[in-house]
């Protein structure tokens, strides 16, 4: 049973507009969430994270929102750029406990110029 779900396998957005990538989780023990970005033929690279004590974390054009009651998080990219075209993974873990990450299946974002 998938504990971390990214229900949209792909998303297309025009350059300059907002990209919103969604992620849902089922395990209430998760309290630390990460987003990774992956280009073809490369490994995922860390993008941004959020702990459950916050509901928002911002880093430049990237903002992650966490809704604990809904067990939902989202990554907003604004403005979207063609270089943002990649696969984005949502991952979750119990922070402070040395446990493996649990990954979603990824969402392929295409930013169209």
């Amino acid at each position: 049973d998938q504990q971390v779900k990214q229900n949209s396998p792909s998303l297309s957005v025009q350059e300059g507009r907002i990209s919103i990538l969604n992620c849902d989780y089922t395990n209430s023990m998760f309290d630390y969430f990460l987003w990774y970005k992956k280009y073809p033929a490369e490994g995922p690279t860390f993008l941004i994270s959020i702990s459950s004590i916050k509901d928002k974390n911002e880093d430049g054009r990237f903002t992650v929102f966490l809704n604990k009651s809904a067990k939902h998080l989202s990554l907003h990219i604004v403005p979207s750029q063609p270089g943002d075209s990649a696969v984005y993974f949502c991952a979750a873990s119990a922070r402070g406990v040395d446990t493996p990450l649990v990954f979603g299946k990824g969402t392929r974002l295409s930013v169209i110029a």
Binding site: Q6, P100, L101, G106
Partner: protein, 110 residues
């Protein structure tokens, strides 16, 4: 049925030993990966195979050797284990609709 299964889930071993971690996927995917998760939960790619052929071989010590007997399996063999090899290792496979990660193998070298 687990789509990507890694065994063992936990592995504790002494320095200098040789060990293997197995990965099997039943999704029919052509591409499989090995990643290492560091203590900050960052993921580093180690190897990628496509249909039994090595595609990506990042800078990892020669003590790490992947083996793909068929496209459903990608095993990781590690010789002469060192303390610094302690980490969580993830196997993943890639198909048309996305990636599927295994649940990870926690390797502890003592």
């Amino acid at each position: 049925d687990t789509a990507v299964s890694q065994t063992p889930k936990y592995l504790v071993t002494q320095m200098g030993n040789d060990k293997s971690i197995k990965c099997e996927q039943n999704l029919g995917h052509d591409t499989m990966y090995w990643y290492k998760q560091d203590s900050k939960k960052f993921l580093k790619i180690m190897f990628s195979y496509n249909n039994k052929e090595l595609i990506i071989n990042e800078t990892v010590p020669n003590r790490f050797s992947p083996k793909s007997p068929d496209k459903a399996h990608l095993n990781l063999h590690i010789n002469s284990l060192e303390l610094g090899d302690s980490a969580v290792y993830f196997c993943a496979s890639q198909g048309m609709y996305g990636y599927t990660f295994g649940s990870g193998t926690r390797l502890t070298v003592v």
